[in-house]
């Protein structure tokens, strides 16, 4: 991770890094947890809100994610990536689990799923029109092809599986699988994530 990003993710210059905090959390430090909470709660809550939508449910999921962060801190392996990314992976996973189990329940209760006409279009337009707070992310996303960008945004912010993305974008499965990967690779290179 480049220094500028690390600096913005850390609580303050000279303070312990999120990685150090997380390792202290793993050893049971509640003080470190409180500091780490302040670092990650914004993006955790943001991504959960994007995926889950419902305000009350989002708060519930955010809360679960953060308790999970405490509970599973010892499983963090610093050689596998940054602490913030680890927390955000956990949060996205939780949010996606929540919407998919709710979806499965809804499908069971109302067999045909009652897809309102126009909903598919709305989901795509909606995912792509997200207001992004970071100039770098906006700029890098604009270097993607339209299909790459739509696929990545539907999967990440929409919490869709790649077959669902394929369905929404009327594209073959294999194409979407590939676009998700090459889209992310292009983003990675643009953002200088190594």
């Amino acid at each position: 991770m480049d220094e500028s990003v690390r600096a913005t993710w850390a609580p303050g210059r000279g303070g312990p890094s999120p990685e150090e905090l997380l390792m202290q959390v793993a050893r049971g430090s509640e003080t470190a947890f409180e500091q780490l909470y302040d670092v990650v709660v914004g993006p955790v809550h943001g991504v959960v809100r994007r995926v889950v939508r419902d305000v009350a449910q989002s708060e519930e999921v955010t809360q679960e994610c953060l308790v999970d962060l405490w509970r599973t801190a010892s499983r963090y392996d610093p050689t596998r990536g940054s602490a913030v990314s680890w927390a955000l992976t956990l949060a996205h996973r939780r949010a996606v689990d929540r919407v998919r189990s709710a979806q499965a329940r809804a499908d069971r209760e109302q067999k045909a799923g009652a897809m309102a006409p126009g909903r598919e279009f709305d989901e795509v337009a909606d995912a792509v029109a997200i207001r992004l707070e970071r100039e770098q992310v906006r700029r890098c996303l604009s270097t993607l092809t339209e299909l790459q960008r739509e696929s990545v945004m539907l999967a990440y912010y929409g919490g869709k599986t790649y077959p669902e993305v394929a369905e929404l974008l009327k594209s073959p499965l294999g194409t979407i699988k590939t676009r998700l990967r090459d889209g992310l690779i292009r983003l990675r290179d643009c953002m200088g994530v190594a």
């Binding site: 509640e30 709660v41 010892s74 990314s85 707070e133 599986t161 993305v165 990675r188 953002m191 994530v193």
Partner: protein, 248 residues
């Protein structure tokens, strides 16, 4: 690394865009593919930037609630070498993707089993238990077959369904993947052909469960597996020419 196709799933995996079974399948692949593991780490880091871009303030009461909650939550112990998930899985070449679709099929069976767990009576509860037991036994049979060292895909002479067999286990599995659903009045039926005589090995796609695998045993002497469309409930003898034939 088994096939380039599996490797392509790094992006979908990093974005949580795989269903549960494909995800587990890919995680198993990761244990033997250091390049994929590295790529997934980088792509997750990248996805993290997408989260950062939608960062949002959270209610301050949330912090107090979380801090209060963790005091009552026991932390998990670290993973030690003994508890690491084992990474020894044999290379399966072109079969890998097929296994992914089999896993998805099992997922569908499990989902179908769980689907009826909306319980308001004892008999429904018993039915749900029965379904779950069946799902589990089916899943165990599938798992056992998928880990057979001599598992191979039998090429279809026409049609899109799949048959996988293990001579060593004397067992096989048939999947409808890609075949059209039958209406409630008819069903697919699979036949083992021994010395030119068809023996029924079971029904597929009953009640629209077109993704559920059919497990069958007794491969000795079988030189073809065929599938026909039969009236609901199946037939004693095939009543039409097969829609798909597999040469074992």
């Amino acid at each position: 690394m088994t096939t380039p196709d599996v490797h392509l799933l790094t992006g979908a995996y990093a974005l949580d865009a795989l269903d549960e079974f494909e995800r587990r399948q890919f995680q198993r692949h990761l244990t033997e593919c250091p390049e994929c593991t590295q790529e997934v780490a980088e792509l997750r880091e990248t996805a993290g930037r997408l989260a950062l871009a939608v960062s949002e303030g959270s209610p301050s009461k949330l912090k107090n609630m979380v801090l209060a909650r963790i005091t009552g939550v026991r932390q998990e112990p670290p993973l030690t070498p003994g508890t690491q998930p084992r990474g020894r899985e044999r290379d399966r070449g072109a079969l890998a993707l097929r296994l992914v679709s089999v896993a998805a099929a099992v997922a569908a069976v499990v989902a179908a089993g769980l689907g009826i767990v909306a319980i308001d009576s004892q008999s429904q509860l018993n039915a749900a238990r029965g379904a779950l037991t069946w799902v589990q036994s089916q899943q165990n049979a599938v798992t056992e077959l998928l880990s057979a060292p001599d598992l191979r895909a039998v090429p279809a002479q026409n049609g899109k369904a799949s048959v996988l067999i293990s001579q060593r286990l004397d067992r096989g599995m048939a999947l409808l993947s890609g075949m059209p659903d039958q209406p409630a009045t008819s069903t697919y039926q699979a036949w083992a052909i021994v010395g030119g005589i068809p023996r029924s090995i079971g029904l597929l796609g009953v009640h629209g469960t077109s993704t559920a695998p059919l497990i069958f045993g007794g491969l000795r002497g079988v030189h073809q597996i065929a599938m026909t469309v039969e009236p609901a409930g199946g037939s004693v003898r095939p009543s039409m020419t097969p829609v798909v034939v597999f040469a074992v």
